[in-house]
Symmetry: C2
Subunit: 899 residues, 2 copies
């Protein structure tokens, strides 16, 4: 059976929706068909606002255009003609009519906002005849030819592929020639001459005259807007914002209004509230006698909209409130109406043509995270929206901005490489290449960036000491990324194009060589690596943040815990509202310099007795670790995962370290080396680790459990409320868990008897292997809780090593084979099915089985929605993602209630 | 909730089953309760055969003994007393009675035969008083004391833990002292003295007198038999034969009969057919005036049973047929009755007491694979069993014996190490440590064993050249094991105790150092490594083999294909009955010396163009490969898997190789090294491999597909019937497969157009990731067949790297955490659920979807039963397992019909 590439069919016959004159065929609810701009234009018309008449070609036409080899559907031509006729009748002008010509704009407008990514053409409908008609009709020849030269440039650039630099060069030559500096200083005659020159350029470059038929102009423009859906900028933008390619863009054709016909004309943009701090103030800019693009292009400095909005250096400028007081009053009435209608802060565009106000666009305004919080809270207080609506409006991920230092947005920067935005924030410091150098520099109060090909647990002290981490290899969930996020430390991982030479202590990027000691800056939110120091801005948490978090907490059902094993992380997480520890990785405690030798001694030991002697040295330190954590988490549950990584991760690498371990263990150096070779694994992720260690070296787990209960009883004596949950990693069979639960219970009994005191505890397991998920029913007969280790479960279910995934995951995303990185957002179809299957089988076997998730996904909003849907009890994530998880959990709960 | 260790309860009240006097409380169907021996004793009684009266304590008592802290259930004591009373009444003697004492044997008897693994006690009931009674009653004091000294030795060894060497030493001293060489030469007085000495030893070693109370003796023996269920030999045997620990053993208590009361007494063992070649002849040995253990112990040379069975050097011996003709005739009648009753070859034990024949045991006799075939076929011809029964009786795995050379069972051998029986057969040769040395030696017609820490694809030519392969690391499915099985070459893998020193070209084992050039012998069926040359025996396939295979083929539903990529393997497999190739791994074709440089050039190339140039060099060679395979498989389907392993597997390691590649690619040496470092992966099993390569380097797959279709059209022109199935590995999403299917279709179209010829083909995928199994529905919309790659599916589902699994899988089996190696027998509960789910989801999406299995499990009988159950179309396995799979598939089909 050969798969036939089915032609995508248009679902509807109506391809064009008219709006104007206070009526609209479309509506705000038709965003998928009309795009954001088209839906809002229709909506504004229906609200009775002054909108230039026009029509929208539905998004399906663009989607179909690509599915059918760039053909337009049969009915489109007629419907566009009808649309033009309706505009003509509303505007009282005729398209292509030399006496009273109708000019139109042709703009893109997708379902999701993609600002500036696609093409726009203004003043369409001008030709050698209509330009004269326009001049006569407006009595303004200069305006008419200014519009014509703008149109020729824009149309030629977008549709005819004649670069705009040709036209800009001619304009500059003309200004030089006339010895003027502003476009507005050119005379009517100059502009007429310039139009002639422009047309010659087009004829020369394309071999054809500039199109004089306005219908040819129109169809060229429609086609160009559709084509721009697939320009590289748009493709990249969609990839970054998860916008599906098959949505397509709508095309909006609308009667032109002119802000550039004289001093009773103007154009401007405004926000109904301050988008940077959220203050309730009407805020914007305008230009007299100008077209829309002039405000954005920055050719002239725009003026403030109102007196209140004038900044210190704008004191001398005339605001719109002063210059056009009546029009301004109407604009105020309209913006208030719009905000009340959309119940959100609006970003609006308008034009004033001969004292008549026209609304060109309104949309929900982009804002900073800080402004987002304030606007949401203010609107609740104003009674405009409910608390739940306020919560639903906020993007949980944007909270990151509030928690980490950020780069000064106004600073200049030289980007030399790009990696993955592995851990947000910004960091700046001198380059070092080893954890030791990082630590040494930190002691001397020097700020450093640790640059490694990849990091390992042995680098943790260096990562702690560094301001930020840059790695050449590894994905969003590589060791460097996970640990850095846990520390709330900036990290750029997998910057594949940098080449690190440890021997020479340098790396190369973009043709430059950066040596140890040179300064670089990292942006962990974008993955950019910059040369030199780029200034950063420190965060401070506002009262708004606390208010939103309190609302979120009262709305959510999911509990939020944290993944933490250091005192600092645990304390940070509690400050951010963590309700316990969901994952305390005990192995990180073994890398401390004072412990690693004892740990290594244990590993190379040749008898269980020698192993126990080495473990005995570690016991008091582990006990102290757990005691400290229990103290910080007083009253909250602490899930402690017993040793998980394979033993070889702890082994010495340098000759000096090997000699040290050999001496400590009383073994020949060769024996240590042999043991290291013996422990080497081809695929350590699936090797002798997790509970496999616990079963084959029971003395290791016994020591850890001893430390947990000793610490718990000590804390209890000090009236600290301890809720230990002991978690067995990498279980694949019921038997593994029952063997190790028996070990835990035995040690507990022994200590409780010796200490004459008891403490309640639970024993549970990670579900991180597909087999464990499938056999969850029988495993739940032993386990008192499940914690889904989604990192490993994703690795095994998809057969992708997260340490090795970066090279092809990036390509997969570019090629559209994957829509997202499954290590950042849970693959609900694959991994998710296993989780929900395990949840239901587990609860069937043990009602009330506690279920949580503790992979990196625990802090991902999309994943949190999934966790709510399948009824987990909690998510656990790195400390800096706790607030994000609280908000996302609230949104998930609200959404669940709505459905 | 704490899990209470539930006490195992006995399911029944009746714990003791009597037999004797032609009646029996038990029956042959009660094997689970009575054990094999007990059930057969009951059965023989019911058949009216002369069986000494006795009773059986059910297996549940032993199981309960372990579950309850070595306690016997309450009712047992009374039931045993009743059993003894019944024996007393049947035998006309009384247990412990000084005048007419009853003696009993106490023997183990599990559900499955565990020959010699557990303990037995004979002559129980003798003490200082009853020995006199026995002497008087039999008129044979010598016999009585001989029995007593035997009993003391056996009981002391088994129950009292006084080693048998004490008693043997005393016996030897006595013989020395009396200057005799045989036990039978000792006098009555000597034996009485010896009994005294024996009792002194017991008193000295245990601090207590030898027990005189016959009931104490009895309970001590019962307890000892139960204890022996957990002796190390028994544990090991159960592990090797997959016998569950919780079955427990029955205990058989039976009246003694005596073959050692004089020349009218005898004891013997016999097979109803020849167990070594299957000939229909009554075959056995006996000893006059002896007890059973004397035959086995080899103290005296046993005599042949009958005249026909006399071998050349037994011509002088008197057979039982001659010595005791009447008893012999009765034995013949009985054996014929038994064989007819059990419808299988029997292994029987008997004793003659004063010319009266007593049957002590009958069971299905062990036999060689060759004998197994002959007996099965003969019995079908005799009308004794049906063809289906004949097929069900054969152990598929035993066919291995017929296909590979085996060690001469009579040769002496010095075992110096033990690894895993990775690929069966035997091999002997000089030790070499590199593939190059192996190849060089083979050219000089020297036989070598390739010894490696582990093998990689680069060693394949050396593995081909060697007689056998020995590795220090790696499990049953390591590279070495898989490839060796494919080649039908003997391999011992994971011999963890040998230490290889490549630099010195030597390895150490058992304290010896074996240098290059020294001769060793491998037994791939046991994992043994032996010093020096042990002679081997070559196989020859008999007509019986063909008969059985023909019967199997007519019975089975599953097709059997093979995994093969060389001409030799493909030809072998076809000879063994393979019905096509289920897995042709194309990467093995790239390691040939003439290709590897081009391959490496392709990998280090920095542009797609340079890559294509290198691929262009490989294309004609791949085309030839496929042409050769198509030719051998004329008329049969050939499933070709496109490139699967990560590219770094092909990279050069030595400086010389790196320089060669750099020169060929026109790149600096550093660039080649950098590329190698860049391609390095932490977990290559889950890295950039399989279809991930196909998607990111489409030119590689395009070249392979080009080669396939070019070869197929060439073959077609020569009237070879080609059925190519192109298989995409490591798919996790529908999109991956659809992208690559489009690539295959495009290349096919291009070649078909150019060549003006077409060929039918299919495109399908491996299902080897849990996600692929879960998403099988949508994947089947694109795939025309699924082949379950159970090696990788097991790795990912269980999270076990097969290359690293050996150290803990062995320990897991020892500890009872795993019952079998999941890389040898499919984990039906975990991996199996995914397979059956994928099968049903796949078939729901595409009815008639072809389903097969191509992992190493494809040749495992237990897995084949599973494949039949869930309705797969075929299994594919290494060439030498094809006959095994054919038989196992037949058994699975027959079993399915029966249910």
């Amino acid at each position: 059976m050969k798969s036939a590439a089915a032609k995508k069919m248009l679902p509807q016959d109506k391809l064009v929706y008219y709006f104007g004159d206070g009526r609209a065929e479309g509506s705000a609810s038709m965003r998928s068909e009309l795009g954001g701009k088209g839906a809002n234009l229709a909506d504004m018309c229906a609200l009775g606002l002054p909108v230039p008449p026009g029509f929208t070609i539905v998004t399906g036409v663009c989607a179909n255009y690509y599915a059918s080899g760039k053909q337009f559907p049969a009915g489109l031509k007629d419907q566009v003609s009808e649309g033009i006729a309706l505009i003509e009748s509303a505007a009282g002008r005729k398209f292509g009519d030399a006496a009273s010509p109708l000019l139109v704009s042709v703009r893109s407008g997708a379902r999701a906002s993609m600002p500036g990514m696609m093409d726009t053409i203004l003043n369409l409908g001008l030709n050698d005849a209509t330009v004269e008609g326009l001049a006569k009709k407006t009595g303004n020849t200069r305006f008419a030819y200014d519009s014509y030269r703008r149109f020729i440039q824009m149309y030629s650039d977008v549709v005819l592929d004649v670069g705009h630099h040709y036209f800009e060069d001619l304009l500059d030559m003309m200004k030089n020639d006339r010895d003027v500096s502003l476009d507005t200083e050119l005379s009517e005659a100059d502009l007429i001459e310039l139009v002639g020159q422009y047309k010659e350029i087009v004829a020369r470059e394309t071999g054809r005259e500039f199109p004089q038929d306005v219908h040819d102009q129109l169809w060229g423009a429609i086609r160009a807007v559709c084509d721009s859906w697939m320009n590289p900028r748009a493709i990249t933008y969609r990839r970054l914002h998860d916008i599906p390619e098959n949505w397509g863009t709508a095309v909006n054709i609308q009667s032109m209004v002119f802000g550039n016909m004289g001093d009773s004309c103007a154009t401007g943009v405004a926000f109904t509230r301050n988008p940077s701090n959220g203050a309730k103030e009407f805020f914007g800019e305008f230009l007299v006698n100008a077209q829309g693009e002039d405000v954005v292009a920055g050719i002239r400095t725009p003026q403030p909209l109102n007196i209140a909005g004038k900044s210190a250096d704008q004191a001398h400028m005339v605001s719109m409130e002063e210059a056009l007081p009546e029009v301004y009053s109407e604009l105020v009435r309209i913006y208030q109406k719009l905000e009340a209608h959309y119940r959100d802060m609006q970003d609006i565009e308008f034009t004033v043509e001969n004292n008549k106000l026209w609304m060109l666009q309104t949309r929900n305004g982009k804002r900073t995270a800080k402004a987002g919080l304030k606007i949401a809270i203010d609107m609740v207080e104003e009674g405009l929206i409910t608390q739940e609506e306020a919560l639903m409006r906020l993007d949980p991920s944007s909270l990151d901005q509030l928690l980490h230092p950020t780069l000064d947005p106004n600073a200049k920067k030289q980007v030399i490489a790009k990696g993955l935005p592995a851990s947000p924030g910004a960091a700046c410091g001198k380059v070092v290449f080893t954890a030791e150098d990082a630590e040494h520099a930190a002691k001397n109060k020097e700020k450093v960036i640790l640059v490694r090909i990849e990091t390992s647990p042995e680098d943790i002290h260096g990562m702690h000491a560094a301001e930020g981490i840059l790695t050449a290899r590894g994905g969003m969930t590589s060791h460097a990324a996970v640990v850095a996020r846990g520390m709330g430390k900036c990290c750029v991982s997998g910057a594949g194009d940098i080449r690190i030479n440890y021997a020479r202590k340098e790396f190369s990027a973009s043709g430059l060589t950066i040596r140890e000691g040179e300064v670089i800056t990292l942006n962990g939110s974008t993955g950019e690596v910059m040369l030199g120091a780029v200034p950063t801005v420190q965060p401070s948490l506002s009262g708004d943040f606390s208010t939103i978090m309190a609302w979120a907490d009262s709305a959510r059902a999911l509990r939020v815990r944290t993944n933490a094993e250091t005192l600092a992380d645990a304390a940070t997480a509690r400050k951010f509202g963590a309700e316990g520890i969901g994952l305390c990785r005990t192995e990180h405690m073994f890398f401390d310099a004072s412990r690693i030798t004892a740990m290594r001694e244990m590993i190379v030991a040749e008898t269980a007795k020698a192993r126990e002697a080495a473990l005995h040295k570690i016991l008091p330190m582990q006990t102290q670790d757990f005691y400290d954590i229990f103290k910080v988490m007083d009253g909250l549950p602490v899930t402690i995962r017993l040793l998980d990584p394979p033993l070889h991760e702890f082994l010495p690498h340098t000759e000096a370290e090997i000699a040290e371990v050999a001496a400590a263990a009383g073994l020949p150096v060769d024996a240590v080396k042999y043991r290291a070779a013996q422990l080497h694994e081809a695929n350590p992720m699936m090797g002798h680790r997790g509970c496999r260690l616990g079963i084959t070296y029971p003395e290791i787990y016994a020591m850890q459990v001893r430390a947990i209960f000793t610490a718990a009883l000590k804390a209890k004596k000090e009236s600290i409320h301890v809720l230990p949950e002991i978690m067995i990693p990498l279980v694949m069979t019921r038997k593994e868990l029952s063997v190790l639960k028996a070990l835990v219970d035995d040690v507990a009994k022994e200590i409780f008897t010796a200490e004459k005191a008891e403490i309640a505890y639970q024993v549970g397991t990670m579900i991180e292997l597909p087999r464990a998920a499938l056999r969850a029913g029988e495993i739940a007969e032993v386990a008192e809780f499940f914690s889904f280790g989604t990192n490993d479960l994703t690795q095994t279910t998809l057969g992708i090593s997260r340490d090795d995934a970066a090279p092809f995951i990036e390509q997969y995303k570019k090629l559209g084979v994957l829509e997202y990185d499954p290590f950042m957002t849970l693959d609900t179809e694959g991994v998710g099915e296993l989780i929900s299957l395990a949840a239901s089988r587990g609860r069937a076997a043990r009602s009330g089985l506690k279920l949580g998730i503790c992979g990196e996904h625990g802090g991902d909003p999309a994943t949190i929605h999934f966790c709510q849907k399948i009824g987990l009890d909690y998510v656990s994530c790195s400390p800096y993602r706790v607030p994000i998880a609280r908000l996302a959990a609230a949104q998930a709960a609200i959404k669940a209630k709505q459905n």
